[in-house]
């Protein structure tokens, strides 16, 4: 069966056809559509409060012998890094694949970190698909490898691979592998990572990686285009597609499984060409490993480390052309929607001259005119704690202006710990945390979260109460207000809280207009 599918859709189809029993994730562009699609196809999928929870739930499922999938964007793997590193040691009896959707060029992210580094750092094998077909084929291969070695597999996608649509042959459609029955077998030596067992596990891990390299050398996951002997290009992922267009005459070594590398096959390829160049987006990941193996290859110039590659840039890269690239006319930047409930909130913060410690979500757009009302944004959950640090060190008159602003989903993701920090290590001036509760995970396309009262597939669920959480932790005040309907009252309340030495939470509650429209369409309002 052939169809037109994005990389994310192809992954979802492959997960279903490979018999994945549970998919867990936290929404994040460009990964968000995978679990939604998997669920629509009939797979069992859930949004966890954050990526660490998602990966751990997937690990638990894989401990019972079934196949499990965890999905996240690149920065999400930072949050899930703790379980990721240790599950590399212990492994799981059921196949476990972790999807990291990287965002070179930062279409919708705060950095362009290259998560291929995580594969080496943790000792986890990695696949890098170059189009939707490879998303489908490699995910199936990743589960086979995971089963064979009881090792987690990192599946590294990028924005273009996730969102580009190509023709996919869904070869196992209609004949999916049967899901395995879950069962638990006691095996503390494998599954309990106390030092005595972890020492053995680490040695096993390194031996497994050596065996996986041998498998990769056999050629199932790399391909060679035999072109001119004057120039050979080693590449992976979406860069491969650009290379084919930019230099159809050259020889190409295209790697699908980029850790552990098929280094001897690469050595042979490099020896057969006069000039051997590495073309890769982001960090010099392939280059460093290939050079470390004593193979003389040429790296891309530093200018091409930034942003996405494309055909024009790859042509320049090959030619060693370092003339500045045309900047192009700036597009219209995104902004808070007309009617967005965050608008009035940011008008008040601006008018009161607050120092605003911001967070990750639509509301980060409060940094744009006419609001100009966000002063810092680091990572998920950082608004609360960064604001506390400012409160601790600023002189009192300045400290009193500091407000932390965080969305409902982001608060549940990693903001709760910040509230614990606030009441435990109280700043002398207290603090004010504003939870912008628009009742949805809006930025990534309106996904459900633990406070919406609906599961990933929009069926009813227990709704976590933000008020009860912060009251239970022990804040001095917790108010709930609609800042659009009661703007003046909100401004007065905020002034009062800022003037006191209390640790206060104000929940600005009003539903996202996009989510309301979407829910109305689905008949969920």
């Amino acid at each position: 069966m052939k169809l037109l599918a994005s990389g994310n859709e192809a992954v979802a189809m492959a997960a279903l056809d490979c018999g994945v029993t549970l998919g867990c994730g936290y929404p994040g562009t460009p990964s968000s559509e995978i679990l939604d699609e998997f669920s629509k196809l009939g797979g069992s999928a859930e949004w966890a409060p954050n990526e660490k929870c998602a990966l751990e739930v997937a690990i638990g499922a894989a401990y019972t012998g079934v196949r499990a999938l965890a999905t996240m964007k690149h920065v999400g793997l930072n949050v899930a890094a703790d379980p990721f590193f240790t599950i590399a040691y212990s492994g799981t009896p059921g196949g476990l694949v972790v999807i990291s959707a990287d965002d070179p060029g930062m279409a919708s992210s705060q950095n362009e970190q290259d998560n291929r580094r995580y594969a080496v750092s943790a000792g986890v094998p990695m696949f890098e698909p170059a189009d939707s077909q490879e998303c489908y084929d490699f995910l199936c291969a990743a589960f086979e490898l995971a089963d064979k070695f009881r090792s987690p597999v990192l599946f590294r996608m990028t924005t273009r691979v996730c969102h580009s649509q190509c023709i996919v042959e869904r070869r196992f459609a209609g004949k999916p592998m049967a899901e395995k029955a879950a069962s638990f077998t006691r095996d503390p030596k494998s599954n309990v990572m106390v030092p005595a067992f972890a020492k053995l596990a680490h040695k096993r891990l390194r031996a497994d990686l050596a065996a996986m390299q041998k498998i990769n050398e056999a050629g199932e996951f790399f391909s060679v285009v035999n072109g001119s002997a004057d120039l050979g290009i080693i590449t992976s992922g979406i860069s491969y597609q650009h290379v084919l267009d930019a230099a159809p005459e050259v020889s190409v070594f295209k790697i699908g499984m980029t850790y552990p590398l098929p280094i001897e096959a690469i050595r042979k390829f490099a020896a057969g060409v006069k000039r051997c160049l590495i073309v890769e987006e982001g960090d010099s990941f392939l280059y460093e490993q290939i050079m470390a193996a004593g193979i003389a290859v040429e790296n891309k110039p530093e200018a091409f480390r930034f942003g996405e590659l494309n055909v024009s840039r790859v042509r320049k890269l090959i030619a060693g052309d370092l003339t500045p690239e045309p900047a192009g006319a700036p597009g219209k930047p995104p902004q808070l929607c007309p009617g967005c409930p965050h608008r009035k909130t940011f008008e008040v913060l601006r008018d009161l001259g607050c120092i605003v410690s911001g967070d990750i979500g639509c509301y980060t757009l409060g940094v744009m005119p006419p609001f100009n009302a966000i002063d810092s944004c680091v990572c998920m959950g950082a608004s609360v704690t960064v604001g506390l640090g400012m409160r601790h060190t600023l002189p009192e008159s300045e400290a009193r202006k500091v407000v932390s602003v965080i969305g409902d989903s982001t608060f549940l993701h990693t903001g709760i710990n910040g509230i614990v920090e606030m009441v435990y290590n109280r700043p002398a001036t207290g603090h004010v945390v504003l939870i912008l509760d628009n009742r949805i995970t809006a930025m990534t396309g309106c996904q459900e979260n633990p406070a919406t009262g609906r599961k990933l597939d929009h069926t009813p669920a227990y709704a976590v109460s933000l008020e009860n959480i912060v009251k239970g932790i022990g804040v001095d005040n917790c108010d709930v207000i609609d800042t659009t309907l009661e703007t003046e009252k909100f401004a007065e309340l905020l002034k009062t809280r800022l003037a006191s030495n209390d640790c206060s939470v104000i929940i600005a509650r009003r539903p996202c207009i996009l989510a309301m429209a979407k829910m109305a369409k689905m008949g969920k309002n």
């Binding site: 169809l3 037109l4 562009t29 460009p30 279409a107 919708s108 189009d131 924005t159 273009r160 969102h163 580009s164 649509q165 190509c166 023709i167 979406i238 597609q241 650009h242 084919l244 267009d245 159809p248 494309n310 055909v311 024009s312 045309p326 192009g328 006319a329 700036p330 597009g331 219209k332 930047p333 995104p334 902004q335 808070l336 929607c337 639509c362 757009l365 930025m443 990534t444 396309g445 996009l514």
Partner: protein
């Protein structure tokens, strides 16, 4: 290398830019050619610039149209013309709202469908029936009649 045709649609979030390329890619797929479609999602739903690209031919590699190699550019909002123009080749075809009878739009939201009609006229290798079928598949039934009328107004300029 076989010839690849490059088509770009550009506009603002909410204008249905991606719908145009979705339908076009579906038409090309049904016609049996290789096709790739690319765009960047994410913050575009907040009213920012949106552009989407379709490449087709016997074999397509990169999903992204190289600068200056676009064969046809469809612009939904004139403010995006200068942003998107560098992608179009010197003798490329430009289609803007000025090329279609926007005064006859049944609903401002249907501009994308009317422009799709204008685009379809520049791609004679794909029959009109394929476009109509892909168009109907992309929208709920209650819009089918109006959409077909808007498509034809755009196509028969």
């Amino acid at each position: 290398m076989s010839k690849v045709t490059n088509i770009i649609a550009a506009g603002l979030g909410g204008q249905g830019v991606l719908k145009i390329t979705d339908i076009l890619a579906d038409v090309i797929f049904r016609a049996g050619l290789d096709v790739k479609k690319s765009e960047v999602h994410g913050m575009s739903q907040r009213g920012g610039s949106v552009s989407s690209e379709v490449r087709f031919g016997d074999k397509v590699n990169s999903p992204m149209v190289p600068a200056g190699e676009g064969d046809i550019l469809v612009v939904l909002d004139i403010s995006q013309l200068e942003v998107a123009r560098p992608v179009l080749k010197a003798d490329g075809i430009l289609i803007t709202p000025e090329d279609v009878p926007t005064d006859k739009l049944s609903n401002p939201k249907a501009l994308n469908v009317m422009l799709l009609g204008a685009l379809s006229a520049k791609l004679p290798e794909f029959p009109e029936e394929l476009f109509i079928a892909a168009l109907q598949k992309a929208f709920p039934e209650k819009l089918h009649e109006a959409n077909e009328a808007m498509f034809k107004l755009g196509r028969n300029q």
